[in-house]
Structure formats: C-alpha cells, structure tokens
C-alpha cells in the first residue's frame, strides 16, 4: 500500500491543535497516552509506517496521520476518543480503506482509529434474522459464514471481499443487488457508537422501530463524522431458492437503456441490472475475466432475477421478450453457476480492468432517475468528445446509478486537470437531470464542492448544525462530507 507514484506531496503531520488555551500535547505525549490505553504494539507513529494511511481508495489527495491506533473494544475506543477530545486532537475511523471518495484520508494530522482488530462476528441469530458484528468485520465474510445455513447479508458493494461493515455503514454502501434488496441503511438496525465526545450510546433497535428520532438512519452514510460505530446489528436474509442471469448484447446504447425502463414498467423487479458500454467491455475483455464479448457491440446488460424456482421462468421469459423487442443482438441465460460467476467476475473487475487501456482513471457515481439514463449517457458521450478524453461506462442501470470512468494520464498535469473538470461537469449534469452527485461512493473530500449542485447554503448550514450537535469541537473526520457554506 506504500505510495509508489512518488508524485504526491506528503503533507507533514500538523501538531495537535492548540485552541481555547487547552493543554497541547506534544507528539511524544500523544503517542505515550495512546500507548497507555492500548499498549505499545497497537500504536503506529513512525512516519514510514504512517504512509500506508495517507489516503484511502481515492488517491488524488493525501496527508499523514499523527498516529494510528488499533482498539479492540468499545471501551478502548471510548477511552481513546475521550483522550483526543480532551486535548482537541482530530481523529477519524478507518476500516479497510477501500472508500472511493477520501473519507478516511487524514488531512488534519488526525489520529486514525484502525478497526482491523475489531473484526469479529459477535453473534448470529438465524431464527430472528439478525447478526451482530464488530466494525472491522469484512462484508463478504458474513455471507460466507451464514451461507451453510442458507442465509446471506444483502448489501454487496464491489469491494465486498475486502471492505468492512463499519466502513459500509459510514458510506451507506450499495452494490449490484440493491435494486431489489436496498442499500446498507435498509439492513443496519442498531449500533453501539462512541460519540466524538467519548460518550457511548446505543442507537437503533434490533427489532421494530427505535424510540425517538432515527439516529441509526442518520449515522448510516454520515462518513464517520458523527461518531464511530463499534458494534453493528444487521438484518440477514434467507438466500433466494433460485437465481437466473440474463446477458443481452446491443448495437445501441439507447436500446439497452430503454430495455431497462421497459423491464421496470412491466412490473418486474430484478435483483440487479448492470450495464457496460463498449469501452468498458474492451477493457474487461483484456483482463483475466474475459467472457469473449464481440468487439463491436455497444452495450451489454446483465439482468438477474431471483426468488422461488416455480415462478422464475415466467419472469425470465418476459425479460427475454422485452430484450428482443429492443433490437438486442443476442440474448441468453447463464446455463450454469460457472457461467454466471464468469459474467459477474467480468462485471465486478471493470474498474480494475481500466488499467489495461489507460494509465489512470477517475470514477464518478452520479445517480439519475432511470428514465433519464439515455439522456445522461448521451451527454456524457458529448462531454467525452469535448474534453478529448475517453469515458467508459459501467453501472447499476436498474437504479440509475452511473459509474463513468474517465481515462487520463496522471503524468500529464493538464490532462489530469481536464479529467477532474469533466468529472465535475458530469455530476452537474446528473444533478440537473433530477439526480444527485453520489449514489454510493460518498462525498468524502472528493465531491465537497459538487455538494453545492444539490444543496443550497441553508441546507448545508442545517447539516453542519446537526454535525455540531454530535461533534461540538469539530474533531471527528472534520472537513469531510459537508462543505462550509
């Protein structure tokens, strides 16, 4: 994870802030105090080791933390946070660091609370459809753990083999199958949290409706700015009896996206509808997950339905019929689990495969109403031409969540700037089409300015006022998610 490009300028860790005449800790005192809480082996403070934590999956900006500490219990987290709050040292939580918008990047010399050691499955209650996990527990591990009993955890971000459920809570992660099953907020029901003041609270309720304002709903997607979750209760589901996957290839992007609208109009609710355009297909075909797609097709849809075996054929017949009405070149169903796995592997590899055709890429995740997809794609294509940059599209078409991948070369500063500008313009288009700037990757550092496309000054102030309720000293992942008006 060491920064290999060498082009990024590291920000020196700022000294813990000295405000309102409070006692200022030296770096050595800070480290000593942390060591007193968790022991010497669970604190990292040497600059060489800290570099690993200079950014998350969003690499455009970075900074060095003051220290990284590895708590093992809620009590330790609370003790650490109380210490930091007392001395006004900024801090932030970090899971696997797979976030795509800079939510875990320390720009204020934060102390990072790393949840790698709080990675346990605490309990599973199949009869009541709940599991309790620590925040560092990996998303996919949960589904694997309960698979033998026929259950699964529904939110499935593409990062699910490495991202943590704590991180998913912070980002309100989505995934390919959230069209039918919903995103993280629909599956997290309760949590133990350490608030930025170091106090511990239990929010949400494992069953039914929590009493009081929906703090659990507020915390999911708050990007770790309102507090730190230390224990999470999630809803688990019974695996569908059967799954069928359809692959449809098109000579026209418009026909592919109209197919999506028609499927929904027909009253069918697929588990997932994924879209890849020509450039994306070319990239993944060069990767190890190549399916053998023809080079000249304009778009591919992967449509998945699940449920009871008895009713699925009727549904897939309808889908095949709709595809054919939209001049599909070929459409077929996966004949076995291996074929389905290949198609999905190919799709989920798409971001990584961009390396096959471009030195660098920027990914955005604007979201638009489904009916505006065709228009959004046409405008993205026009922007691609205007900017002279190739843009590949891989996205969750069923819920209108775009993932334009803007290809550029970071060795060329002018081109880099052009790519960043184009990304921002795409988000403006999404906002103008009645959508939003981020469907699932989060605002983080990356989209702070773009927040103004969707919120006015009063609405931003209202959100900052809420943040202040929980973090009066502005220490907990400060500067992320909401721009200053």
């Amino acid at each position: 994870m060491e920064n290999q490009s060498g082009t990024n300028v590291l920000v020196e860790p700022t000294n813990p802030r000295d405000m309102r005449g409070k006692v200022k800790l030296s770096k050595a005192e800070l480290v000593n105090s942390l060591v007193n809480i968790v022991g010497v082996h669970r604190v990292i403070h040497e600059p060489d080791y800290l570099r690993v934590y200079e950014c998350d999956g969003y690499v455009a900006r970075n900074g060095l933390p003051s220290a990284v500490v590895f708590p093992e219990t809620t009590q330790e987290v609370a003790e650490i946070v109380r210490l930091l709050a007392k001395h006004q040292v900024p801090f932030l939580p970090r899971g696997a660091g797979t976030g795509l918008s800079g939510g875990a990047t320390p720009l204020n010399g934060e102390v990072i609370l790393n949840f790698a050691r709080m990675n346990k499955l605490i309990s599973v209650d199949l009869d009541n459809l709940r599991a309790v996990v620590q925040p560092g527990y990996i998303n996919l591990t949960l589904s694997k753990e309960i698979d033998k009993d026929g259950f699964f955890y529904a939110p499935d971000p593409s990062s699910q083999s490495s991202s943590t459920i704590g991180g998913n809570v912070a980002e309100n992660s989505g995934g390919a199958h959230c069209l039918k099953y919903g995103v993280t907020t629909n599956h997290v029901v309760a949590a133990t949290v350490v608030l930025p003041t170091g106090e511990i609270a239990h929010i949400g309720t494992p069953f039914g409706d929590a009493v009081g304002y929906d703090l659990m709903g507020l915390f999911v997607g708050a990007e770790g700015t309102l507090g730190i979750v230390t224990e999470i209760t999630v809803r688990i589901m019974k695996k569908p009896e059967a799954v069928k996957t359809v692959q449809a290839m098109y000579d026209s992007i418009a026909q592919a996206s109209d197919t999506v609208s028609d499927i929904i109009r027909a009253g069918i609710l697929p588990a997932a509808i994924e879209f890849m355009d020509k450039l994306a297909i070319q990239a993944v075909e060069k990767s190890s997950y190549h399916v053998g797609y023809p080079e000249d097709i304009e778009a591919i849809l992967i449509i998945e339905v699940d449920g009871l075996t008895a009713g699925l054929e009727e549904t897939t017949d309808k889908i095949l019929d709709i595809c054919r009405r939209h001049e599909v070149r070929t459409v077929k169903m996966a004949t076995n689990a291996n074929e389905r796995a290949l198609w999905w592997g190919n799709r989920k590899m798409a971001f990584g495969a961009m390396g096959q055709i471009s030195p660098d890429y920027l990914v955005q995740d604007g979201s638009v109403p489904r009916t505006r997809l065709t228009e959004a794609l046409a405008r993205i294509q026009a922007m691609s031409r205007d900017a002279g940059l190739r843009i590949a599209n891989v996205f969750h078409a069923g819920d209108g969540n775009l993932h334009p991948l803007i290809l550029y070369d970071s060795a060329n500063p002018e081109e880099t700037e052009r790519a960043i500008q184009t990304a921002s313009k795409i988000l403006k288009v999404c906002a103008d089409l009645g959508g939003t700037i981020t469907g699932e990757h989060g605002v983080g550092l990356e989209k702070l300015e773009e927040m103004r496309y969707v919120f006015n000054k009063t609405e931003l102030e209202a959100q900052l006022a809420l943040r202040k309720v929980f973090d009066p000293q502005n220490l907990c992942n400060a500067g992320k998610l909401i721009p200053l008006p």
């Binding site: 459809l129 907020t185 069953f207 039914g208 409706d209 009081g212 009871l308 959508g435 969707v454």
Partner: protein
C-alpha cells in the same frame, strides 16, 4: 395542558388573517384529538387557531410569525394519528395541511411519486393502481389519513415484513424549518449518499422538528397475483411453523400471527375458527410462485395437523381490508418491539390480564419483524395501565420496548407513551434544540426529553 395564557388567540388570528387572508384562519375548540371516535367529554378542551394551508410558502409565513411571537404550532393532516401521543403543553395554532394535497410528480417508469403532505394514502393508492403500482405500506389508519401525518408518525403495518417501513420508501422530503426556511433533503433517485440522510430524522419525528410539505416515495409493482394463506393451530405448532418459515425460501410479504377472531364475521365463519390464533401468510410473487408457496404450506399443514384456508385475488384483498377495518375500531393500541421468537412469551401474560378483565383484546404479531400489537376495546384505564406496565417489565430483560400507539390522553398523562429511552436521549433533545430552538413545533409531543420548557 391549557392554552398559553400569554398568547392572545384573537391577536394570533388577526395577524395570520392579515398575512394569509380571512378565509384561512378560524378559531375553534380543540380537545387534543381530531377524531370523534375517541372519547372526548371535553378532556383538555381549549381554544386554538386553525390555519388552512394551501401553499408551502404559507407554511413558512406561519412558522416565521410563530417564531417571532413564540406561538406553538401543531402540524396536522387528517388528525388520524393525534391519538399517538398527547400534546403535553397544548398548542396555539393547528397548521391544517389537508389542502396541501397535490401530486407533484409521478413517473411510473422511475417508480417514484412526489406528493404534498396532505395527499391521502387512499387517493394515492388509487392513482398508483391505475399504473399497476403501489406504495407498499399498509398501516392501520382511517381512509382520510394523509401521507404527511403517516410519515411524521412512522406508521406501519403487516407489509413491513416484505417491504419495510417509511424509512425504506421515503427517498426524500421537502420540509419547512421553524425558521421558515424551506429545505430539500434526499431526492427522487433510488440511491443517494450526498450529505447526511436528513430525511430519516423527520420520519417518525411527530412534527417536532420541521413541517413536512412534500415527500418523494419509492414505489413497487402492484402484485398482479395476490394470495394469502391462513393456518390455524395450537400456539406451540404455530411457533414451529414460524421457525420453518424463517428457514425456508418462501417469500411472505406479510407474516402475522393474528387472533383468529379478528377475521370472524366477514372472512371466517364461526365454524371455520378452530383455534384462538392463526398465521396469515401472504405471497406477492407471480401465480406459479404463489401456487408453489401455498402447496408447501399445505404440506406442512398436513404434517402438523393445522387447518388451512387459501384466499386469492380479491378475496385476499378482502381479508386484509377486513383486518384494517376491524382493528381500526379498537381504541387502545400497544406496540411491542422485541425479537420475533420472544413475542409469544410476552403475549401470554398479557392474555392472562385480558382474560380476567372486562372488554376485549386481540393481537397481531409480526413473525419476522418482531413488531407485535395489542389492540384493546372497552378496557378500563386500570387494565390498560396494567398491560403497559406488565409488557414493559417483560421486554426490559430483552432490550425490547413498548410504545402506546393509541390511547386516551388520560392514560398518556399517567404513563409515558414511549417508555424508557436509551442512553442517547440527551442527543435527541440537542437535535430538537438545534432545529427548533424556541420549541414552537408540537411542543411536548415526543419522547421524554421533549417537554415544553
């Protein structure tokens, strides 16, 4: 609990008439409830000014004036949820939103509808059904209940088993803050992580934070085939059936254990009722899948000696309409939140109390949601109080909670509506203070800490 003596209602009416026009402002008696169905007898009757709103700008005007003059405002729709919590310190203004009732935007292909707060659930469902869609929620409520009121009280019903609650279907809201600022949070898209999920705050806030003037709602396809199976048996058998269902691949969208007599007279005849409890199991999948589900349930019924009845299409609709109408007639409702497998354990002692009391009590228990409701009728206040205390004592061991969803103010004054609140209570008060610093919105209407200053 009386009108605020420092507020001259004639003066309030005069000021608001000047801003909004005479025809929108009237003075009236208010008993804290709008429903005639509840016992009234002049309980806490006092004068209020009713303002009939037609635009969101008028909402802003009223709130600005209220902030300036320290008037207390209660946003109301049809008033069908007013019995959910009592009004604490009373109010000066009823902000009547029933005329703010336009469907702003409906895009069937996006499966999203934007409605104003005063649109009724009944009217909305009617419109949606012409496009073979629905809002997949079925709270027990009067036909005139508005979306604004239902969202503000987070009302929910048996369909939460398969579709969730308002927190799962409200994609965004347009609200007016006590300051008069109109704000948008969330939107019309399926996925949205821009900023805090402020929408969640207003759902179930009982009108204490801001006035919801518009909501964007995610829709579902109207099931073309509806099939409901009821299975009756001994309680022990139903518990086994509950477990079998949870571990099966069947797809119930409603899965309720209901007192059989809820369906007596209208759905099941007396001779068709063999046990006090039945499981009602819905399937919203297509006909082939529903047929499979029903055949599986039949197999289990045969194995376990349970009696089974199958309702399809219109007769399935009738069953649930009957459920709604029958339960609406009860004047005392307790909601239990606890692990589904523990629901039975809580219910048994409550049944004992009911068995020894005058009046009637029936149950509906969500077998996967853990939300159970006790519906009472003709029970004395003493029995009601005993039921609440008993239930709270029982759930406290399991981190459950018991909320009074419907009762006369008498009980709500004596027994806390929400019960014990967790260690997060200080933050609830701080959120209230941050958004409504002058406490003008629905004062005293919410959880313990929200008392009027």
């Amino acid at each position: 609990m009386q009108s605020n003596l420092s507020v001259d209602l004639d003066e309030v009416a005069k000021i608001l008439s000047e801003t909004l026009g005479d025809n929108r402002v009237t003075k009236e008696h208010f008993n804290g409830l709008e429903t005639a169905e509840m016992g009234d007898a002049g309980f806490h009757r006092y004068d209020v000014v009713r303002v009939r709103i037609e635009t969101e700008d008028q909402v802003a005007e009223v709130l600005k004036a209220a902030s300036a003059y320290q008037w207390r405002v209660l946003p109301v729709g049809a008033g069908s949820q007013l019995h959910a919590t009592h009004l604490g310190a009373g109010v000066d203004i009823l902000l009547d939103l029933t005329s703010l009732n336009q469907i702003i935007d409906y895009s069937p292909e996006d499966m999203v509808v934007s409605v104003q707060a005063g649109v009724t659930l009944t009217n909305l469902q009617e419109l949606l059904s012409t496009h073979k869609q629905m809002l997949p929620l079925d709270p027990v409520c009067r036909p005139g209940a508005t979306l604004g009121g239902l969202i503000a009280t987070a009302a929910n019903g048996p369909r939460r088993t398969g579709y969730g609650t308002f927190r799962d279907v409200v994609a965004g809201v347009r609200v007016v803050y006590p300051s008069g600022d109109i704000m948008n949070f969330g939107g019309r898209v399926m996925k949205n992580v821009a900023g805090y999920d402020m929408t969640k705050l207003f759902i179930g806030s009982f009108g204490t934070l801001a006035v919801i003037v518009e909501a964007h709602l995610k829709l579902k396809p109207l099931p073309l085939h509806r099939e409901t199976v009821t299975m009756q048996g001994r309680r022990e058998d139903l518990k086994i059936l509950q477990k079998r269902l949870v571990h099966s691949s069947l797809l119930p969208t409603r899965l309720e254990a209901v007192s059989s007599r809820v369906f007596q007279n209208g759905i099941l005849s007396r001779s068709q009722i063999h046990h006090p409890w039945l499981l009602a199991i819905d399937c919203d999948e297509n006909a082939s899948a529903a047929a499979y589900q029903t055949s599986q349930l039949r197999t289990w019924a045969d194995e376990m000696g349970l009696s089974i009845d199958v309702f399809q299409g219109v007769s399935a609709d009738d069953l649930w309409t009957h459920y709604q109408e029958s339960l609406l007639g009860f004047d005392f409702v307790l909601r239990l939140n606890i692990a589904p497998t523990l629901l039975w354990q809580i219910v048994t002692p409550l049944e004992k109390i009911l068995g020894e009391a005058e009046g009637e009590g029936v149950f509906s228990l969500g077998m996967t949601t853990g939300v159970g409701r006790l519906y009472g009728k003709g029970l004395s206040f003493k029995v009601q109080e005993e039921l609440v205390q008993q239930a709270r004592g029982l759930v406290s061991e399991y981190a459950g909670s018991v909320v009074i969803e419907k009762a006369e103010p008498w009980l709500q004054e004596k027994v806390d509506v929400f019960g014990s609140i967790g260690d997060f209570q200080p933050w609830l008060q701080r959120i209230k203070d941050a958004i409504d610093p002058q406490n003008i919105l629905s004062p005293g209407r919410f959880v313990g800490g929200m008392k009027n200053a």
